[in-house]
């Protein structure tokens, strides 16, 4: 069953077609990779799903409900969370509060309840703290809870972004180059984390990644974009030998050399 259904999605900036007629079906509880050379339109694609950009045409449906035209915060409320290619943490506030900020939509008491110090508001706040701590344990950052997020190491910041995204209790998690800039050990740990998230939390994961070893090892299904178009899709072993993919990455002559 497809949890996310993208049909003929296009986006153009002026005359430049960043995405054209992309159709994808993302299976529930799968790990799906979106790959392609630089400038292929992968991040644009993510930005359309999360409501940052409005598609020029096409439709995006999460569990049958369209996401087109929703603001990013409304999309997040529907159950899509994301991390960013260039890390976007709340740098000056503590690690724990970063994660708690992700729970915004799940804390229901309003300002009046907070000011009157109603038991419900207090209880929710306590629970949010504990839940945030659990999430930090989950990604292995619980010992850093009081540090400012910006002071963390690069790998830790990436994990914190994942914890913060999980705090929104998503059904689909988009990871934009989660392993960029990581050393092999960190990449291995990240791969394990992504797999645990999928199996334990039943979250569908879509990731953009350039590390082919990671992509081939982790993905159930892969979509390949080039110049804004989908040029291939399939299981990892199918993609590895797809002539159009090799051409997109290595150029026209590459096949004859191989």
């Amino acid at each position: 069953m497809n949890v996310l259904e993208v049909t003929e999605l296009s986006k153009s900036f002026g005359g430049l077609a960043a995405n054209s007629n992309i159709t994808m079906g993302i299976k529930k509880n799968s790990i799906t990779a979106v790959i392609g050379p630089n400038g292929a339109g992968k991040t644009t694609f993510f930005n359309m799903i999360t409501g940052v950009y409005k598609p020029t045409s096409g439709d995006i449906r999460l569990n049958g409900k369209t996401l087109v035209g929703l603001r990013p915060d409304a999309v997040a409320k529907q159950g899509i969370a994301r991390t960013f290619q260039n890390i976007r943490l709340f740098k000056d506030i503590p690690v724990l509060e970063n994660v708690m900020a992700g729970m915004h939509t799940h804390i229901t008491s309003n300002w009046l309840g907070i000011l009157l110090n109603l038991p419900k508001a207090r209880h929710e706040e306590d629970e949010a703290k504990k839940e945030a701590y659990r999430l930090l344990e989950y990604v292995g950052l619980e010992h850093l809870l009081n540090e400012a997020a910006g002071s963390l190491s690069y790998g830790a910041q990436r994990r914190l972004e994942i914890a913060r995204a999980l705090a929104t209790k998503p059904s689909v998690l988009l990871l934009d180059e989660p392993a960029a800039g990581m050393n092999p050990k960190e990449t291995k740990e990240l791969t394990d984390l992504v797999q645990t998230i999928r199996t334990q939390l039943n979250i569908t994961i879509i990731l953009i990644e350039h590390d082919m070893k990671l992509v081939m090892g982790i993905s159930d299904y892969i979509f390949v974009l080039d110049h804004g178009e989908k040029i291939a899709e399939g299981k990892p072993h199918e993609i590895r030998n797809n002539p159009r993919v090799i051409e997109a990455y290595l150029g026209k002559g590459a096949l004859s050399l191989a």
């Binding site: 999360t50 915060d73 976007r88 804390i107 706040e125 839940e131 701590y133």
Partner: protein, 426 residues
């Protein structure tokens, strides 16, 4: 000396002892001396010392409450300048509440607002118009001025009126960020002032540049509030309320949303935080404190006119926030106190002193160099010095520390998994 300080910072008993001696001496000298600005300022300083003491927060609050609520008014009450001390203390309170309001907008939500005094004006005029015959010019029903008892309701009305203006300002300016936002808010502040200046025709609502005079003083249980020492308690109460609200919101869902928007708008939105609503809340709540204090200001001065609400006022409040430390509640309180006291007490006293000196012929100082006239220069110099050497302010914002022991999961570890499953099924 260093060893002495470090051993003192360990020893709680010695701290309490020394602090009590300090407070006793300063309050006694304020009580006994005819006119002693120094003793008055030193007694106020005790609050800052209290902040640094190694005591439980509850005790600090209680002690601070006693010093400001009882000790300060009582020990100042003997001298002839009692009312002028209370006037200064009242104005400090008014500015503290306003600076705390601006701190929400600038420090927590990261929205630079250069027209903050507009909300103060809205509050002041709200009470000013209805507590004088002015309202009869355009209100078809009711008899004006309203009685002094209505002041207490007007505290709330002023609060809501300012919040409403905060939202009205917010809606158009939310499209712009950073420098552009600063310019638009600056324009808004000026527009409000000019509108109040011109709303005397065709219907005379604000009495234009003449201002509104003889505003009914507030009354409670049949007593009219006329003197600064009475207003002092009104302001004291509002400031306590303001601190409570700011503190409570800062570490809640609302405050986290503000900080998230300040730190990174795109990420905040991706976490489900609605930008427009969050910014509007910041504008509205920040403005409401200012509106409330506007009502008090109008009642205290018994006169309002547009000249009280110039751009200089907006910048002064901003200076308080910057000087104290953006986003830091204790810092902003200190900043507001320092700037107000510098303005009202230190510079005036220095000028008086220098005038006396030149009168008695000791030195000759041209009038153009008197400290009061150099107010803007002094603030400018202060700001530059702070930007260079202490850009985070006097008391920088500190993040709350969480105790991991309290957060550790006592039940089973998988509850997060359960939670996310529930969500999916729902």
């Amino acid at each position: 000396m260093k060893a002495l300080i470090s051993s003192l910072s360990e020893n709680r008993l010695a701290q309490i002892l020394l602090f009590s001696v300090y407070v006793l001496i300063t309050s006694a000298s304020l009580f006994l001396a005819e006119k002693s600005v120094v003793a008055f300022l030193l007694l106020l300083l005790s609050i800052l010392i209290l902040y640094f003491l190694n005591l439980k927060t509850v005790w600090k609050w209680i002690i601070g409450f006693v010093i400001l609520g009882v000790l300060l008014p009582v020990s100042a009450s003997q001298g002839p300048s009692y009312q002028s001390y209370m006037e200064v203390a009242t104005l400090v309170g008014i500015y503290v509440a306003m600076a705390l309001g601006l701190n929400i907008v600038v420090g927590l939500a990261g929205l630079l607002d250069l027209g903050f005094v507009a909300f103060f004006a809205v509050g002041a005029y709200t009470y000013g118009i209805f507590a004088t015959p002015q309202a009869a010019n355009f209100m078809p029903f009711g008899s004006y001025p309203l009685s002094g008892g209505s002041f207490w309701i007007f505290l709330l009305i002023g609060c809501f009126a300012a919040a409403l203006f905060g939202i009205l300002l917010g809606i158009p300016v939310l499209r712009v960020k950073g420098d552009y936002l600063a310019i638009v808010t600056l324009g808004f502040g000026e527009i409000i002032r000019i509108v109040f200046n011109n709303m005397d025709k065709p219907v005379n609502i604000t009495n234009g540049s003449m201002g509104i005079a003889s505003i009914t003083p507030p009354s409670i249980f049949g007593i009219d509030l006329l003197y600064p020492n009475q207003f002092y308690y009104v302001v004291f109460g509002i400031v306590l309320f303001t601190i409570y609200v700011v503190r409570k919101l800062e570490y809640s869902k609302v405050g986290r949303a503000w900080k998230a928007v300040r730190e990174n708008e795109i990420a905040a939105q991706a976490m489900g935080i609605p930008l427009v609503k969050t910014k509007l809340t910041a504008f509205a709540i920040g403005a409401s404190f200012s509106g409330m204090m506007g009502v008090v200001f109008a009642a205290k001065q018994t006169f309002v006119d547009p000249t009280s609400f110039t751009l200089l006022e907006s910048t002064t409040i901003l200076v308080m926030v910057l000087l104290g430390g953006m986003g830091s509640v204790p810092g902003v309180i200190l900043g507001a106190a320092v700037v107000t006291i510098l303005n009202l007490q230190v510079l005036t006293e220095l000028t008086n002193w220098m005038n006396q000196l030149s009168l008695s012929g000791v030195i000759a100082i041209p009038e153009a160099l008197s400290p009061v006239k150099m107010q803007r220069f002094i603030f400018g110099a202060l700001l530059i010095a702070f930007a260079l050497y202490r850009s985070q302010g006097l008391l920088p914002a500190k993040n709350r520390k969480y105790n991991p022991e309290e957060l550790k999961n006592k039940t089973e570890k998988s509850s997060i998994l359960l939670l996310s499953k529930e969500k999916r099924q729902a």
